[in-house]
Amino acid sequence: MTEDVPRTTGSDAFLSVRDLRVRFSTEDGIVKAVDGLSFDVERGKTLGIVGESGSGKSVTNLTVLGLHNPDTSTIEGSINLDGQELLTASERELQKLRGNKMAMIFQDPLTAMSPYYTVGRQLSEPYMKHRGASKKEAKDRAVQMLEKVGIPQPKLRFDDYPHQFSGGMRQRAMIAMALMCDPELLIADEPTTALDVTVQAQILDLLKDLQQEFGSAIIFITHDLGVIANMADDIMVMYGGRAMERGTVREVLHTPRHPYTWGLLSSMPRLDSDVDIALEPIPGTPPSLLNPPTGCRFSPRCVFKDQVAGDLCTTVTPELGEGRDTACHLTSAQKQSIFIDKIQPRLR
């Protein structure tokens, strides 16, 4: 297949996650939020992680930053950032990386910024801490960054509180905050979900333009395939704490090979799709992470599982290989023919 282009192996990647498992103990039992996840992010590239609620996409990224409470969660596997293992790193070492080498943009800028301190102070903090900068130097840098992200009158707005900013301006300030120390890895968790569509378009373009300037690697988490199509170089589709499909944007969105990706694409209307073709929803509901289905996590909702011989789908968990791959028991030929016969006509 054409998508089997040779690509960089894990060791060259800037961020390399291998067999990550994250479990939380709750009153109801153990939640397997992430269950055997591996992926790489290269410098200057954007990895889009798509998934619905409970897919484990946000948990993964908080784990990369080391922000889970060690008392209630167990984390296994390996997270390697630029040659440094993060899972065994001390809290002090992680603090040096957070906000500095790796930074995060959260979904809702209203709740993600403290209402009690000025935007300027919240921007200055990481710069003073990581760069040992004085208050004055941090202010200069913050004003410069606020201007860069398009905040009008940045010198005046420096002393304003987050609630005095509009929604879009707040998210710009949040981006400026993440970029204060020139991070090499930027994690954006649904950064535009809380915003209106015309504001979302501004912020997405801004992130793309800034990446070109700063050269950061970006992990972009979203549930919106349209957003990911515009933002990412590579896509990983997650479901029930596992990766289902991975490849470049073109590969995953134009020649998808996994029944879940097919389901997502067919259940979503587009601005140019034929309105007379009914949407094809994915039957059933997302799995419980307390008692995930055996075998393939998606098998209870998969309409193609009867094409797989025996009970493979419900007994054996399909693995996702390196590079372009899908975690599915269907054969390559089956995937190809189902896509061409059943899926592609719907996406026209």
């Binding site: 619905e52 609620s53 201007e147 860069k148 992200v149 398009g150 009008p152 509009s166 929604g167 879009g168 301006m169 710009r172 209106d196 569509v197 015309t198 504001v199 979302q200 378009a201 501004q202 997405l204 373009d205 801004l206 333009d209 800034l210 070109q212 300037e213 549930h223 919106d224 395939l225 349209g226 957003v227 199509a229 515009n230 969105l253 134009h254 389901g263 997502l264 694409l265 067919s266 259940s267 979503m268 209307p269 587009r270 601005l271 140019d272 799709s273 309105v275 009914a278 949407l279 094809e280 929803p281 994915i282 039957p283 509901t285 997302p286 996406l347 026209r348």
Partner: protein
């Protein structure tokens, strides 16, 4: 999930074009201003949130009217006014020829059963202490309606209609998933054989894979039971998929209204262009490039909306006239019948890419100019 819709007592929508259908609901000059109190030393009315301002809309029998717009555009308030959950500040709401704008509770009661509402949040709009059966039954009880075969039988029919197991009659809302809860909301709305359903963001709280289940259910309800819809949503693709006609709202005003094709393929209002261009899309491989319009900043406050055309502060075509004269919502030249646009300087009726992108955001302008420059110098270095 297959939704077997059978409702013998309902008449199917006549297969007539929208224009020839009878008007079911007519809204004229609808205005809702929420007062703001403040001041010193005694509080008094100091202003008003102009949530909805002079809105005209019509819904024909069996038709789905989509209402789109961003936060603060007044689409939800409009929905609540139509269902008379609120009384408007001004304007008239006429339902089947009867003025219900200021109708009393008693006058409203026969109409209440014909106009139903579906809410965004399936978690908070269902009473957690009542069984599903009680929830769906209660509108029948309140209105004293006794269907043939009894209320319980009707509830079970409704559950089946919306794709839920009738045996789950005695379960509580928390035992259902988000998508199923929204189905319960639909069943409750259908309990009184309504003629009009106002659906306010009915799928935006649901996961992508579940949204389609509910959209398909609503579409079948509309097609097979002939129920008219006012479908309020911010997702332009879902509104396009669901509605025959679409109204675009901005800061309390309808800026453009027309058939689906008019709005999505031949939009005239700059705001409609900007809105469509902003939708992030998974494009098919040989898709024609779309125009790129990037506005700057957020929607202004509805407390002090701009004079004249409310969109002018974010519009690239705005001129002096836009500040002084409010553009009327009319069929401007070049528009087809029923396609109304409120703009002094309308755009070309296409969404195809233009020669030059419209980028109003100064940060984007600066970054993109920088990148273009460095790309140019890279090219000249090679030469």
């Amino acid at each position: 999930m297959s939704d077997n819709l059978t409702a013998p007592e309902q008449k199917h929508a006549e297969a007539t074009p929208a224009a020839e259908r009878r008007t079911l609901l007519e809204v004229k000059g609808l205005t809702m201003h929420f007062p703001i109190y403040g001041g010193f030393p005694f509080k008094r009315k100091v202003g008003a949130v102009q949530a909805v301002d002079n809105v005209d809309l019509t819904v024909a029998e069996g038709e789905a009217l989509g209402v789109v717009g961003e936060s603060g555009c007044g689409k939800s308030t409009t929905g609540r006014l139509i269902t008379r959950l609120m009384e408007p500040t001004a304007g008239t709401i006429t339902y089947r020829g009867q003025d219900i704008t200021h109708a009393s509770r008693r006058q409203l009661s026969p109409i209440r059963s014909e106009i139903q509402m579906i809410f965004q949040d399936p978690y908070s709009s269902l009473n957690p202490r009542q069984t599903v059966g009680t929830i769906i039954k209660s509108p029948m009880e309140v209105n004293g309606i006794e269907p043939a075969g009894g209320r319980t039988k009707r509830v079970k029919e409704l559950l089946e209609l919306v794709g839920l197991n009738p045996e789950h009659y005695n379960r509580f809302p928390h035992e259902f998933s988000g998508g199923q809860r929204q189905r319960i909301g639909v069943a409750r709305a259908l309990a009184l054989n309504p003629k009009l359903i106002v659906a306010d963001e009915p799928v935006s709280a649901l996961d992508v894979s579940i949204q389609a289940q509910v959209v398909n259910l609503l579409k079948k309800v509309q097609d097979e039971l002939g129920i008219a819809f006012v479908f309020i949503a911010h997702d332009l693709a879902i509104v396009r998929h669901f509605s025959q006609r679409v109204a675009v709202m901005y800061l309390g005003k309808v800026v453009e209204v027309g058939d689906r094709d008019d709005i999505y393929n031949r939009p005239r209002h700059p705001y409609t262009h900007a809105l469509l261009s902003a939708v992030p899309e998974v494009e098919i491989e040989d898709a024609e490039p779309r125009e790129r319009i990037r506005l700057y900043g957020d929607v202004p406050s509805p407390v002090n909306p701009p004079s004249g055309c409310r969109f002018r502060t974010r519009c690239w075509k705005a001129q002096d006239k836009c500040a002084t004269e409010e553009p009327p919502l009319v069929q401007i030249s070049g528009n087809r019948d029923g396609h109304l646009t409120a703009c002094h300087f309308p755009e070309e009726p296409t969404t195809q890419a233009r020669g030059e992108d419209v980028v109003l955001d100064p940060a984007l302008q600066a970054l993109e100019a920088e990148h273009a420059e460095s790309a140019e110098s890279a090219v000249s270095d090679k030469d």
